[in-house]
């Protein structure tokens, strides 16, 4: 049996060790020109009271987000991210049947009747003008969550074009059958609850936020309670 003694002075072993160390060192260094990730903090979302009524949905469906009563996991965004939609101008594709457009950004998110903006039936949109470009990190959308509601053809878009004709970023689309003719989406439908629906926009730069909708399981009209945009001033 041959006893091979390991020596640090062994040339081959030493070169392997040097190469290994160098690769590890390179791997942990930032690429030239890339900045350090900004420090992040958890966003403190203010939630309305839940609505207790209706039968909780039983069962699992592939095209429906699993309903949960659990709290939402913390959502982090760069320090300084705040609500940038409050009291900003709101427009819509049709005159409201009920409520005023400004309700969508007034911070009142409860299921109470006076908080609901209602648009006519069919595909409609509601749009918030942030009045300047922001890095958008999160958007919370509340439809009417009084009872069981699943809203159809929910499409979320961000853009710097108020007409949404160019440079449109679609961050959500659950119109799987392309009823809207805006392109078929791959996102799932979801049950409304007091937590709202959180969209992670990962710092998309945009001035305008638009949400489409096309009725729900209860009625063919469209109801929006609140659109809450969280962002930071864009450096541009």
């Amino acid at each position: 049996m041959v006893n091979r003694e390991f020596r640090i002075t062994d040339g081959k072993t030493m070169w392997i060790a040097v190469l290994l160390f160098a690769s590890l060192w390179t791997a942990i260094q930032p690429v030239h020109g890339e900045e350090q990730l900004p420090e992040e903090a958890e966003l403190q979302f203010e939630l309305p009271e839940p609505f207790f009524g209706g039968t909780p949905l039983d069962g699992w469906f592939p095209n429906l987000e699993e309903f949960t009563y659990k709290e939402r996991p913390p959502f982090k965004a760069p320090v300084g991210t705040a609500i940038v939609s409050r009291q900003k101008p709101v427009s819509s594709s049709a005159s409201p049947l009920r409520g005023k457009l400004e309700q969508v950004v007034d911070g009142k998110k409860g299921y109470e009747p006076e908080n609901v903006l209602e648009l006519p039936e069919g595909l409609q949109w509601t749009q918030v003008d942030l009045q300047e470009e922001f890095e958008v990190y999160a958007i919370l959308l509340w439809h009417n969550f009084r009872g069981i509601h699943i809203y159809f053809d929910v499409i979320g878009q961000a853009s710097n074009d108020p007409e949404f004709k160019k440079d449109v970023t679609e961050f959500y689309n659950n119109d799987i059958d392309n009823t809207s003719h805006l392109g078929a989406g791959k996102d799932k439908e979801y049950l409304e609850r007091n937590y709202g629906r959180l969209f992670d926009l990962k710092g998309i730069k945009a001035r305008y936020i638009r949400f489409y909708g096309n009725g729900n399981t209860n009625t063919s009209t469209n109801q929006v309670v609140e659109i809450e945009v969280w962002g930071k001033k864009s450096d541009n």
Partner: protein, 538 residues
Amino acid sequence: MTKFPVFHVATLALILLVAAVLRFYDLGYRPMHGDEANQAMKTSVLLAKGEYAYDPFEHHGPTLYYLTLPILWIAGAHNAAEMTEPMIRLVPAFFGLGLVLLSWLIVSPIDRRAGLWAALLTAVSHGLVYYSRYYVQEISFVFFAAGLLWCGHHYLSSRRIGWALGAGLCLGLLHATKETSVLVVFAMVAALACVVAWEKFVARRAIALTLNWRHLGAGLGLALAISVLFFSSFFTHWRGPLDSLLTYTTYLNRAEGHGSSALHDQPWYYYISLLAWTYREAGPKWSEGLILGLGLIGVLWGLWGPNRTDQTDRTDRDGAIVDCGAAFPRFLALYTLFLVVGFSLIPYKTPWNLLIFLHPLCLLAGLGAQCLTGLQRAVWVRFLFGVLILAATAQLAGQAWRGSFTYGADVRNPYVYAHTSSAIRRLTERVTDLAAVHPRGDQIHINVFRFDGDYWPLPWYLRRYPNVGYWPNFPESPDADVILTSPEIAGALQPRLKDEYQVEMNGLRPGVLMPTFIRKELWDAFMAKRSGPAETAP
């Protein structure tokens, strides 16, 4: 020679035009309620096969089905697939329009202007408009009750056999329409007895109610003949007339709120609150307070007012009054009060049940409106009241319009009760689109798994497709091109399916979801036909 009342006739014509627009415009717009669908499918069997048998446990009388046939024949429909919502809803719409004319006919003898007010309020009442566009028995039931009122009043005023036969015809049709006819007849008889007693003991004058047995026999005989004709399915189902009596054991249980009927139990003030003020969730506020308020004035005037009449009391040789014209407003007030109290005391309540007293309330409201606009001395006061009531009436008409269209199937509408969600359109369009890409078209195989039987109005909406199965439990092979189910059993269904499916969520009623499984290859074929982005989005 009396001058032709041009203004009066023109006003009535205008009221009828408003009533017609509210009742006939876009009759197919609102999705079908489960009850409407149920009635429609029974009518379709009668149309296609000539089969009908009265069911004493569910459903109501036969008149609705038989009276729909002429419209379907004229429209050229031969079966369910060829029937449409507007075709069948024409029946209640015509009765609803007829009710406006009847309002004028009933109240005009008391006061001509009050007759116009009554017709106008009937024309724009949200409840009466809503159910005039609704394929159930209710509005025809109210029409026959009003017809009985009109003919009965004229008979007691004139003692002519023609009016007795008219009253008999209405009574027979009333009985053959809905089981609650007994309550209506009871309220009429009780009100008549009270009026006679009132005249005798309070007004100190006697009304002669000498019975003409020949007229009574003719009227009741015709009523019986009409009832038997319909309940026996035109002499083909002889158990029907017997069942029309035995059914009251079922209805007594239902009225007391036994079994599943307890679902419909409501407090005594339910009907009044529904009329006075309804505000549910976000949306419009609803009120027929104008009719309630004016109706209350009409009741007070009917009970204690001067009972002005265009007719002079006719007396017999003994000095007893034989013409009840003067006492008619009092009768109307008592009849309405008895109906309100009676129906409010019954625990079982549904919104459409209030129509039977909402209509006489409109008649009294016509009298109330005339009290405010016709009995004031100062012209400017009359004018002011007239303008105010007309403005409130316009608001009522707007309410009726919103209630029939924008909020026609919306839970916020006081008359929407366990109604199919307007989201049903999405489902029916989907099935139509899927059938269009299916190799066998309308032969598409659809399975419905809702074991509690809660699937109406699907049979109506899927009437074009012969291969639809409504299952009480899972068959050995539950696979189909399209499967409609409920969230509660979807979990048990999924492991039993062999094929691959696209699943989407649809709504049957608010809060009642209907998971829809679409066979994957059919879904892919459907999506392949769908166009991409287009300039059609708003």
